[in-house]
C-alpha cells in the first residue's frame, strides 16, 4: 500500500522557490491501479519520484507498505519497481545481461536471480530475444525488457511514469497487459499519464493533478457521478477550464 499525507515539494528556480506539490494526499491499495492524471508539469513525475525515494518531500509523509520513505529509503526501494517512459534501453548487452545487472544492483542472490530471470522471460514472452543485443530489438521487445528490468526484484509496488509515451500500439499493449496482470496479482500499481483514454481503461482509482494540487481523488464512478459526466475527458477539461488552463 502507498499512502501520501499532505506532501509538499518545492524546487529552487532562478525566480525563487517554485511550489510544485501542494498538500498531496492519497492512498493506493494492493490490487489497485492508481492513475495520476494531469498535463505536463502538473507534478505527476515529482509525486512518483518522491514515492520511489528519488526525491524527498519538503513536508508531509510518504508511507510505502508501512515504511516511511523519508527514513527507510533503502527498504522502500526494495519494495518499489520504477519504469519511466523516457527510459530508452540501448547498447550491446542482451536482455538477460541487463536483467542480471539489475538483479545484482538489488543484491539478489545468483541462484534466485537466475530463476527469476527465467520466470520473467517466460511470463513476458521474452525467450526468443533474451540473448540478442538490446540495440537490435523492436520497440515492443525493448518495452518488455524495460518492464522486466523494473520488476526483476519482484516489487510489491509498481510505479510506471508515462510508460506508454512514444510507444507504438503494439508496445502499448505490452504495458497495458502487464499492468492488468500486476493488479490481479495483488500488486499496488501507480501510473502517471496524460492519455485520458488509457487511464479510463486501466485505472481503478484516479487522481487529477493540476498545478501541483490534487483536485480529484477517487474511483472513476465516484468522479463521474460527482461531476455528472460520462467521461473523464469532460471532467478533466472542465477542471482545467476552471483554472484557466484551457485557451
Amino acid at each position: 500500500m502507498v499512502e501520501l499525507r499532505n506532501v509538499n515539494k518545492s524546487f529552487k528556480t532562478r525566480k525563487g522557490r517554485k511550489h510544485v506539490l501542494k498538500d498531496i494526499s492519497f492512498t493506493a491499495e494492493p490490487g489497485e491501479i492508481y492513475g495520476l492524471l494531469g498535463p505536463n508539469g502538473a507534478g505527476k513525475t515529482t509525486t512518483l519520484r518522491i514515492i520511489s525515494t528519488l526525491l524527498k518531500a519538503d513536508s508531509g509523509e510518504v508511507w510505502v507498505d508501512g515504511l516511511n520513505a523519508a527514513i527507510e529509503g533503502r527498504k522502500v526501494r526494495d519494495k518499489v519497481g520504477l519504469l519511466t517512459g523516457d527510459m530508452k534501453l540501448s547498447g550491446n548487452l542482451s536482455p538477460r545481461e541487463m536483467l542480471k545487472f539489475f538483479s545484482d544492483l538489488n543484491h539478489i542472490p545468483k541462484a534466485i536471480s537466475k530463476k527469476r530471470i527465467e520466470k520473467l522471460s517466460e511470463y513476458l514472452d521474452m525467450k526468443d530475444f533474451l540473448d540478442r543485443p538490446i540495440e537490435k530489438l523492436s520497440a515492443g521487445m525493448k518495452q518488455k525488457t524495460s518492464i522486466a528490468v523494473s520488476i526483476v526484484h519482484d516489487p510489491d509496488i509498481i510505479i510506471f511514469d508515462e510508460p506508454t509515451s512514444n510507444l507504438d500500439v503494439l508496445a502499448v499493449k505490452v504495458v497495458v497487459d502487464f499492468l492488468h496482470d500486476a493488479s490481479k496479482q495483488g500488486k499496488t500499481v501507480l501510473l502517471s499519464t496524460h492519455v485520458l483514454s488509457e487511464a479510463e481503461k486501466l485505472c481503478t482509482k484516479i487522481g487529477i493533478i493540476l498545478e501541483g494540487e490534487l483536485i480529484i481523488n477517487g474511483t472513476q464512478e465516484e468522479i463521474l457521478a460527482t461531476y455528472n459526466s460520462s467521461s473523464l475527458e469532460d471532467v478533466f477539461f472542465t477542471l482545467a477550464k476552471d483554472r484557466g488552463l484551457v485557451i
Binding site: R49, L55, R77, T84, G85, G91, L105, H107, V149
Partner: protein, 381 residues
C-alpha cells in the same frame, strides 16, 4: 561499497567490450594512429628530401663564370645554367666586375615558400662556402701556407648524459604529451556516455532505485572511465613504441629505450593510473552535472584544452628540479614521466604526485558522490 561499484564497472565494461565501434575508436585507433602518422611523416620527409636532391634546378649565375665555382656547385646540386633573369629561378649574384679572389658580397635569390627552392638555396650556400675556402687555399698556397693549418681549434662534442638516457630526448618530448592527451581522450567519450548519456537515455532514475548506494554508482562510473583511460593511453604508448620501431627514430633524432628499467616502468604505470583517475574523476563529475551529452562536452572541452596546452608548453622543458611542481596535478605527471624516462625521478617526487593526485581525486569522488546523493542529479533528468 567497492563491491557494489564493481557491479557498475562490470556492466559498463561488458557493454564496451561488445561495442566494436567504441573499442576501435578507444583502443585500436590510438594504437595505429601514431605509427601511421609517424611512418607517414617519415616517408613524406624522405620523399621530399630525395625529390629535392634529384631535381635539376635552373640557376642564373651573375657576374662570375669561374668554371671552378660551377664544378663545386655541381658537387652540391644538379643544375642547368640560364643567362636570362626570371623571378622563378634561383639567382646567384656576385658584385659587378667580380673576379675570383676579390672580397665579395654574394646574393642568393630564392623563393622561401618553395621547399625545393629553399633546399637549393641552402646547397648553393654550402657550395659558396666551399668555393670561398678553395679561393682562400689558393691564395695562401702562394705564401706556402696550408689553410687547414690555420684551424687551430677542432671541435668534438661529448654527451655527458648517462648512457641509458642518451637517445631519449625525443621520448622526453613526446611520451608525457601523448599520455596526457590520450588519458583524457580515452576517458572522455565513455565517461560522458556513462553520465550525461545515461540521463539522455532516461535510465539513470531506474538505476538509482535499487539497493546499491549512490556513492557506489558514482565510484563505479569513475572506475570505468579510469579503466578505459588507462587502456587507451597504454595502447597509445604501445603505438608510440611501434612507431619508433618502424621508423628507427623520429625526425632525424635517434630514439632508444635503454633507459626503460623495471623501476621506470613502475613509475610510468603509477603515474598513468593516477593521471587517468584524475581525468576520469573530472569527466564523471562534470558529465554528471550536465543535462545532456552536448552540455557535458561543453563543460569538459575547456579542461581538455588546458591539458593539451600544458602538454605543449612542457614539451621542450627539462625535468624540473623544483619539487613544488610535483604537487600540481597534470604538471607533476609531465615532469615525473620525463624524469622516469632518463632514470632521474626520485621516490619523493613519486610520493608527492601520489599524495597531491589522491587529494584531488578524493575531492572529485566526494563531490560526485554528493551529487549522486542529492536531488540535483535528477533535476536534470
Amino acid at each position: 561499497m567497492i563491491k557494489d561499484a564493481f557491479i557498475i564497472l562490470r556492466k559498463e565494461l561488458k557493454n564496451i567490450l561488445k561495442d566494436k565501434r567504441t573499442l576501435v575508436a578507444t583502443l585500436l585507433v590510438p594504437f595505429l594512429l601514431i605509427p601511421l602518422l609517424f611512418v607517414g611523416m617519415d616517408y613524406m620527409e624522405n620523399r621530399q628530401r630525395s625529390s629535392a636532391e634529384d631535381t635539376i634546378y635552373t640557376i642564373n649565375i651573375v657576374n662570375n663564370d669561374d668554371p671552378v665555382f660551377l664544378e663545386i656547385l655541381s658537387e652540391h646540386l644538379n643544375f642547368n645554367l640560364v643567362s636570362e633573369y626570371s623571378e622563378d629561378e634561383l639567382v646567384v649574384e656576385f658584385p659587378s666586375g667580380y673576379s675570383p679572389g676579390d672580397r665579395a658580397q654574394t646574393l642568393i635569390y630564392f623563393n622561401s615558400t618553395s621547399q625545393k627552392s629553399s633546399f637549393a638555396s641552402s646547397r648553393i650556400g654550402n657550395a659558396l662556402s666551399d668555393y670561398s675556402a678553395y679561393l682562400a687555399d689558393t691564395y695562401l698556397d702562394d705564401y706556402g701556407i696550408d689553410l687547414k693549418s690555420l684551424y687551430t681549434i677542432s671541435i668534438s662534442q661529448v654527451d655527458t648524459a648517462p648512457e641509458e638516457a642518451q637517445g631519449a630526448r625525443f621520448l622526453l618530448i613526446m611520451v608525457p604529451y601523448l599520455i596526457l592527451i590520450y588519458v583524457f581522450v580515452g576517458a572522455m567519450s565513455v565517461g560522458i556516455d556513462a553520465t550525461a548519456g545515461e540521463k539522455e537515455r532516461g535510465s539513470l532514475a531506474v538505476i538509482l532505485v535499487n539497493q546499491v548506494s549512490r556513492s557506489s554508482i558514482a565510484i563505479g562510473k569513475i572506475l570505468y572511465a579510469v579503466t578505459v583511460g588507462i587502456a587507451s593511453s597504454c595502447m597509445t604508448f604501445l603505438g608510440f613504441l611501434l612507431a619508433v620501431k618502424l621508423t628507427g627514430g623520429m625526425f632525424g633524432q635517434s630514439v632508444t629505450f635503454s633507459g626503460f628499467s623495471f623501476m621506470t616502468m613502475i613509475v610510468l604505470l603509477i603515474t598513468l593510473i593516477m593521471t587517468s583517475a584524475i581525468a576520469a574523476s573530472i569527466i564523471i563529475f562534470l558529465g554528471s552535472m550536465a543535462k545532456s551529452v552536448k552540455e557535458a562536452t561543453t563543460y569538459i572541452l575547456p579542461i581538455y584544452f588546458v591539458v593539451v596546452i600544458l602538454g605543449v608548453f612542457t614539451m621542450n622543458m627539462d625535468p624540473s628540479s623544483n619539487q613544488l611542481l610535483f604537487l600540481v596535478p597534470f604538471l607533476n605527471t609531465v615532469f615525473l614521466l620525463k624524469g622516469a624516462i632518463i632514470n632521474d625521478s626520485t621516490f619523493l617526487q613519486l610520493l608527492m604526485l601520489i599524495a597531491s593526485d589522491t587529494v584531488l581525486i578524493g575531492v572529485l569522488v566526494y563531490s560526485t558522490s554528493r551529487l549522486y546523493n542529492s536531488e540535483k542529479i535528477l533535476n536534470t533528468v
